[in-house]
Symmetry: C2
Subunit: 285 residues, 2 copies
Amino acid sequence: MTPQHQQKAEQWFRQIQKQIIAGLEALEAEYGDETAQFQLTRWQRQNKYHPSAPGAPGGGGTMAVLRGRVFEKAGVNFSAVHGHFSEKYRAEILGAGESGAFWASGVSLVIHPTSPFVPIIHMNTRMIATEKQWFGGGVDLTSCIPNTEDTARFHQQVKACCDRFDPDHYPKFKAWCDEYFFLPHRDEARGVGGIFYDYLDSGDWNQDFAFTQAIGALFLDLYRPLVQENAHRPWGEAEAEAQRLKRGRYVEFNLLFDRGTRFGLMTGGNTEAILMSLPPRTGWK
Amino acid sequence: MTPQHQQKAEQWFRQIQKQIIAGLEALEAEYGDETAQFQLTRWQRQNKYHPSAPGAPGGGGTMAVLRGRVFEKAGVNFSAVHGHFSEKYRAEILGAGESGAFWASGVSLVIHPTSPFVPIIHMNTRMIATEKQWFGGGVDLTSCIPNTEDTARFHQQVKACCDRFDPDHYPKFKAWCDEYFFLPHRDEARGVGGIFYDYLDSGDWNQDFAFTQAIGALFLDLYRPLVQENAHRPWGEAEAEAQRLKRGRYVEFNLLFDRGTRFGLMTGGNTEAILMSLPPRTGWK
């Protein structure tokens, strides 16, 4: 592991969390509740599932949640944790090696907007170090009521960002997203896609980090027009029902399949922070 | 495998489904909506996740759902399926052997009552045959607003039923239930307990079957007083909120940990039937 890289990445994850929080508060103020603010909760990691794991578990994070008028629930979490994977979980992790030692830091956000016309958005960037080290992340939309123009603009913006780094990134990471955010038991996609990448280690750390930073920095540009153009549109019970059901699918994906949720629960992360992604007002038929 | 046992068990599972359906419709008629009825949907098993699995998958089931005034959503499912486990899943199953052949039949019910004062109830009885064969099942309550008297009576009734068969059953199966229906990431029990048993194979099939039948037959006696004494009580937003959050915990358990949910999804069962247990009107804070 290379502590300078970790320090640099961690510092940036902290900073992008603050930047996104400020941007979302500004959006909420412009289109919804001027006074709504993120509530921050700091937590320390307790390795409660694996109290006998070797090495002192460490690290923690900051969970930030906004409950406003535009954003019914917006969660933007930062964490930086280190320790040792349990023996059972080790087999699932690249380069976990003999000791199972790991370090991980990242930012993860999920927004459940109040309006069924504003898509749910998810963004995550992270760096993980075991005996190997890599970046992962992505950004994707889940529309309760899909809108062709919104979706096309979103994909275009993401593609333009990817193309600045590597022409292979977008097609590869878009396909990965479609494959990853899929509910096999429903035979349906979770949302309308985006990009997903993992194990990004080109050999040029600075370049990989710059790509991850670009995705993080892109987020507000992606979400602003989706809010601007949709938050004011009136909706009725049919749209509210579509939103509840789509949110239910979101819950199914996150609890049955999501890697980050599983990583968090398996490494004694903060449950409230991990499950921050779960929506208020949900329902199954 | 012993086809006569399977036939006998399957026949009884079909019959107890009908009996419970009739009993719940009577309860709904007495305290809620006289006209509400279970809607039955028959399904055939399609081994969609493992199309290349050896052996023709087979079987199916009947999903029955009532949406009434007392029962916001009551699902009572019967299924009888057979085929071969996928190689990956085989390792998790007792006696799955070389071929991975299995037969399984059972009844599973989950009731989400409208009133937050009426507990959510879950009951399941099943027989599974691989190279071994056994019974499993149980019944347990999840109270959104726990009531000491209700809970005590429920446990007493279950204990009395168990004691008719074996004095060890109740303490063993009660402890198993507490251990099984537990959310480690929340460090909290899903509900207020009951019994859970699996791998029941005492060597006397008739006796084990009789016990399973007794649990099935007990169900209506257990749930009737809980409805009678609570369905009419007025409630407000605080109780409704407690119900939504408890239902959220129920979803977490079923998608993260439940064996039956996992068994169903892993063996190409009917998704709607498997996820019938998920509640309408849910929500996370």
